[in-house]
Amino acid sequence: MNPYDRVTGLFWLLLSAFICIESLHLGVGTLQTPGMGFMAFCLSVLLGILSLALFLKTIFKKEKGEFSSTFSGTLWKRVLIVVIALIIYAVFMPKVGYLISTFLLMGFLFWVVKGTKWWLALVYSLLTTIITYYCFSVWLRLEFPEGLFRL
């Protein structure tokens, strides 16, 4: 059993309560004429029962895993850094433009895992950005944002 089951069980329970309330707002209707929220209401009840079962299972079953075992010993910080980089890219790409933002993101991604020299990461990044730009933008005619610098 995963040590986080109790937490995820509670999360699903809260989600089911939220869906239930929202579906009631939408209108459940009757069995003869089901409304917009009918399906969501049924699903919220089912999700509630299942999450409760998961939660209760963690209470009645003796926990085998340690609470910290899922993330300990892993390079989770690297995962977090990459996710933040992706979010920054998504936010700034329309403003800065495709070429500059992609060059910076790729340079960072090639560099983030140890083993690639910084100048080599920049070369890889430059090549990737230029090749993909010509491939997708010029050849396949996908539209990418030009951004502030019209690049």
């Binding site: 069995l31 089901p34 892993t74 989770w76 995962v79 990459v82 993909t132």
Partner: protein, 502 residues
Amino acid sequence: MGIFDNVLTGFQICLDPNNLLFCFIGVVIGTLVGVLPGIGPIGAISLLLPTTMRATPVSSIIMLAGIYYGAMYGGSTTSILVNIPGEAASIVTCIDGYQMARQGRAGPALGIAAWGSFIAGTLSVVGLMLVSVPLANAALRFGPPEYFALMCVGLIVLTYLAQRSILKATIMAVVGLFLGNVGLDVVTSLPRFTFGIDELSDGIGIAPMAMGLFGIAEILENLEQSLEAREIFQTRISNLWPSLKDWAEAKWAILRGTIIGFVLGILPGGGAILSSFVSYAVEKKVSRHPERFGKGAIEGVAGPESANNSATGSCMIPLLSLGIPPNIIMAMLFAALVVHGIQPGPLLIKDHPDIFWGVIASMYVGNIFLLALNLPLIGIWVKVLRIPYRILFPLILFFCIIGAYSINNSTFDLYVMIFFGVLGYLFRKFGYEGAPLVMAYVLGPIFEQSLRQSLLISGGSFMIFFTRPISGIAMGVCFLLILSNMFPYIKKYRQRYEEFEE
């Protein structure tokens, strides 16, 4: 038109240079993702789904199907040479394939895997051709209750066959069905669960969702481990043509694998992964020398590799003739068809014969391409294996970004992909599987529509699902599956109670 005329039409469509190119690209990408352990066919299909939107529906499906059966071929290479399965359906190939390589028999192992895959893949396409048309004709008589019941069976079997907890897989399926509710209501066309976000009116995009859950999540999971270079078994790959002795040992395994793969591929929740495991178990059971298994038995490579390729053909039967995807990859093909405005189902063969027969013919051609790609060019794929992951992962990540962005030229799809990527990563950490969620999400709108229509027809009575023969049988299967799952728990608790009483 007779079946041969249809096949000829299919070949005419498939041999069109454009479609032929798409078929070739599909099988090459399939082999590539099969070889590379970092990304599987689900990730690759979701990644390439947006790019197919500009192509014709036939070309798109030909390419996406090519990725699937191509990955089954490519997966065996890493299993045999590196002892790491390139994709899940090749896990069992590692057991005897790697042992054969260690004994200097990498060539015959790769050869029999490729030939077994070719024979099984081709026979399975013949089966697909023969079974789909009568099944589609029968399915024309299906109404909303039958569809609802069949989808229930599909979803229950999928959660039942979950690799981890069944309870968690069921939760995932329910969440997937709920996510299918986001967007415009199927009956009133009014928005629901959109929270004022205009982009959500059309629902959550299947491509960014799948790319996040399978592509990004996979990369994030790999990133948290130290990315050391893989060690490839240093051996000279020769004698790719198996000897007569090898053929004699493997021929029945290939045939059995083909049948097992074909039958399990049709069943909901089945597919390549399950059939490869079952085939290995069967081969070990029927073998006169089961002690050879795990030590380099050629049947242990031939059987599962044939089974997983056979399943790729047969799992198209429920998709193309009933409109019900039996597994996650078929759910992605389902989404690809819907994106092009084509509703998979019994009318597909009648209304869009070009797609049905074109795809079938492309599978014959694709299997020949794969044989040529995987035997003489094996050296290239071995070289691909040597590309370090630190170079590969930024490229995969980047293609996910381009794929998600190019759907609507909007950064909203990028946010959706990143969101589902993080969610998928956390799901993996907490023991949840993404496949039931995506499968339920794809089925969600039809599931809801058929439930609501059934209730309207019956005047609110759920008995409609039990009084009609096909839906009644399907619902019976559902209850049997649920009961069979609960039975061991009941037995265990009764035992405990009796012990306590004593």
